[in-house]
Symmetry: C2
Subunit: 554 residues, 2 copies
């Protein structure tokens, strides 16, 4: 027999933590609200060594005040924290490891800190559990990585402790749900405490302590691309994407990755795509952050619906004025939700189009390069064939038919997964390689598998300035390799092509050049962009879009 009471050790431990806070900070607590000056004491009272701590750091919103406070703890009192976070973005996120406060890390993306992370990992200062795609990491919060303590950020709280996240809802509801319902502790930093919230995003029941931070939490305008920086090569590639893939498959539901390549596509929808008669036929339903580059397409009536992972700085008023398109609450501001939008990207989109740093001859792609441990964010989830999907759409059925033509296989559909890259990336590094750096990185960092962002098995098209390779139509590994070489331009991989085989693939439509698509590269000018500058975007929005200062020269 198990002794009574041993089934609520988490609840008992939670009571002890609440008790410690009451004893040490009770005089300063007003309900759940605590002055910012006591944050270090609060964390010392709440945290225990070895805790799994989920700190909200996603690719935009940062619980930066709490991240900073965490670095101030006494490692003699609190050490060996196991940090869980979507995105490792701030220096403080690594300082806790350098200072001996934390020792283990599970995460999804660490772009801005990738080099330092690799250095700390190889110096043995931190132990990486695993790198995940976002939805996978959230999934583990409910299975084997449930946080003991969650440190989150919200726009505002009321005096009861209800939270209003505003449009940057992001990961917060998911993190808090996993923590609060397994007897964990939830601490929120907010920009302000108010009497009445515009709406409630997280009920006070789920929150233990709220601190009004001295400064608003940081938000990165990650999805803003200045149209002035889009090149004519990118315009050409965007024309090929629209005519050779979007129109070809009738892609209506989709996600775009970050970057200028897809921004160019967004800006060509109301011009080039409209001139092809594609309005209403492509790109109507999106799982996408509110990209400023999508404004002209929205204004042109191209876009029916956009559900977002998070918001984008400066888009707040525009979103509020376009509630038919975005998901907004009765208060008028958006509610994003990264977990649900990732599910939407996985299961309700027919296409994912993104970019990468390296592609090998099997079509495997990775942004992992030597000396950098960066992770992949949402790309693995959205750039994988969703094999649980059962509803049909013309785009999905056509891709599935192409993949299975001539094979004795049960018919099924397939997601379109497009990698869009120029053959040379910055510093003239070739995007096509015989061997991914991921292999060497796996060895260096002692990973179980090479860190591949999107597996070749899942990629359907590779698009470069030289053309489109449709991997679905390749009948064997050799054809696949030559199809990839055939769009790899003047890279060593491209130069090593078998010309006759590549010509044959082109005859069969496996490779298509601009000319094969009826596209004259001389037409690929910046004049096709529906907005050529940030100011054009503001104008297109009727003055509702307010770009952050760094994107303005006026």
């Amino acid at each position: 027999m198990v002794s009574p009471g041993s089934w609520n050790t988490l609840q008992q431990n939670r009571q002890q933590r609440l008790q410690r806070v009451a004893e040490r900070l009770g005089a300063d607590l007003q309900g759940r609200i605590l002055p910012a000056s006591r944050i270090r004491d609060l964390l010392h009272a709440v945290l225990e060594s070895g805790d799994r701590v989920c700190i909200e750091g996603n690719n935009q919103k940062q619980a930066d005040f709490l991240a900073q406070a965490l670095t101030q703890l006494d490692p003699a009192q609190v050490h060996d924290l196991h940090m869980l976070q979507s995105v490792l973005a701030l220096p403080e996120h690594l300082d806790v490891f350098e200072k001996g406060i934390a020792s283990k890390l599970d995460f999804s993306f660490s772009g801005p800190q990738a080099t330092r992370l690799a250095r700390l990992a190889s110096a043995g200062r931190l132990n990486i559990g695993a790198i995940h795609t976002y939805l996978e990491l959230y999934a583990r919060y409910f299975v084997d990585l449930t946080p003991r303590v969650a440190l989150v950020a919200a726009q505002a709280a009321d005096r009861h402790g209800n939270l209003y996240t505003g449009p940057n809802t992001e990961d917060t509801p998911t993190i808090v749900e996993a923590t609060a319902f397994k007897s964990g502790m939830v601490i929120a930093q907010v920009n302000e405490v108010v009497d009445v919230l515009p709406r409630i995003d997280i009920p006070a029941d789920w929150v233990d302590y709220v601190v009004a931070a001295p400064a608003p939490h940081y938000i990165e305008p990650l999805f803003t691309r200045d149209p002035a920086l889009i090149s004519e090569i990118q315009v050409l590639m965007a024309m090929m994407a629209i005519k050779g893939i979007y129109a070809e498959y009738g892609v209506q539901r989709l996600n775009h990755g970050i970057g200028f390549d897809t921004a160019a596509i967004e800006l060509l929808l109301p011009t080039y795509a409209a001139s092809l008669g594609l309005k209403g036929k492509i790109a109507s339903h999106w799982a996408l952050n509110p990209h400023p580059a999508l404004i002209p397409a929205i204004e042109a009536g191209f876009v029916t619906s956009v559900h977002s992972f998070g918001s984008e700085l400066g888009m707040e008023d525009y979103i509020r004025a376009r509630p038919d398109v975005f998901f907004v609450g009765a208060d008028g501001s958006m509610r994003s939700n990264r977990a649900l939008s990732q599910a939407a990207g996985h299961y309700a989109c027919d296409m994912f189009i993104g970019s990468t740093l390296q592609i090998d001859l099997q079509g495997n792609s990775s942004t992992a390069t030597l000396g950098r441990i960066a992770g992949f964010g949402g790309a693995p989830n959205m750039g994988a064939d969703a094999r649980g999907r059962r509803h049909a759409s013309p785009a999905w059925l056509k891709a599935g038919r192409e993949a299975r033509a001539g094979k004795n296989a049960m018919p099924r559909g397939q997601k379109l997964v497009v990698q869009m890259v120029e053959t040379f990336r910055e510093h003239m590094q070739p995007a096509f390689v015989e061997t991914l750096d991921a292999w060497q990185l796996a060895e260096q960092a002692d990973m179980a598998l090479p860190p591949v962002m999107i597996y070749g098995e899942d990629v359907t098209h590779i698009l470069t300035e030289e053309g489109i390779a449709n991997l679905l139509l390749c009948r064997n590994d050799e054809e696949r390799e030559q199809a990839i070489r055939g769009v790899a331009g003047y890279t060593p991989v491209g130069l090593a092509r078998d010309r006759r085989m590549v010509d044959n693939l082109r005859d069969r439509g496996v490779i298509r050049r601009p000319a094969d698509l009826g596209i004259d590269p001389r037409d690929a000018t910046r004049d096709l962009l529906a907005a050529k500058t940030m100011k054009d975007l503001v104008r297109a929005s009727g003055g509702l879009y307010l770009p952050p200062r760094r994107f303005r020269n006026w």
Copy 2:
């Protein structure tokens, strides 16, 4: 230029609906609360013909009062509704089609109504959009199937309209979020209106109207299996599963389907599996409803964590007393969440094990049989290789190695997907067939693809009373076919095996018989079950489990 104001047609339309309600029912409204007697008038005021209406009908909790009210509408006023629902369970769910109130349906599962659904569909009384796996359907709520009106069920509301779902949280938060944040209308039936809720599951901000139904909403105890009905064949299969798969791969994180086969495994954990020294090594972390059959394993300390899609009738007090294991709130009752638990099942579990009605020679399986349009619920999502997954575990790596042995492929892991079936199902129908009924059903019902529950490409093991076929180890389609025939017993498919090839597969360990696993079928007795009756389960729970009446003979 688009005329100003045309970007908030949804909000304007919402205001019109609110206005109609205020005009027609204002006198009876107390804040958001309306007497049950006015429900028909409320629905007439809120609904418009052609609306997408999401009615909460999942596999357990039913918004049955609202479903009933919907059938009472005047089809001259309200018609051509497009119904969205996880589970079509009640006769009323089809009555609305028969009465001409609704005409289109998107759903996931319709088990109890599958025959009548097929009849209505073939009579042209309803148009099926598509059949989905649950998470896929939710995903579409945020992309191209956003509900205009949601009709949901909760345990209680307070006078502001905040909702408490109790342990049967299920789909409610996801449905409400999709609807409320696209200017839709949310109507909830509750069992009671109270002054203070135990906790808030859905903020009142997200809810328009609340009706206290005359009777508590229906809940189906779907996951309760009486151990008295478990056969010794099932005990034998459970022994093979534990020794030949769970132990072999070290499966710690998993999901079980519904049924006696997996209930037998749950009941063998504290006995047979413990005798093999497997405690702490297998089956510790679950995405699973609170199966009563798991009680003995929990009591034996086998289980660390269970996150649930929904709850199970009678388990409330037991769950409340085991908060270390289940996800419970500060109020002591569970919060389930079907969307998040499906994500957990997809991305954070190493194995899905379930059952089916038919398996073909490629390993494709389906529960779709002629004259029944049933759908598949969560199985496609959890029984598919999660190709976006990037974190490693020993079980996943081993399955991936086996699948790729001798192939020139990028290494990756793979989910274990096990189909566990007796070779003959009830009425001596063979579980193994040359051709799935799904093909004929697709033709009859004009489906784009045959309705396959789990594709052969995703299945890793087939387990019958004759043995285990490890499809990962098959080197080609012919071996795969013979491996399946080799465990298909005395079915025509099994009898048509190539004996020499099957022997060879057995020599290579592709097929393993009980003897190959060191299991003597004579040991497979009901004595191994940790509970042999419902009363044993109650006893194991220390009297905390209170089975519904239909499962009690005392």
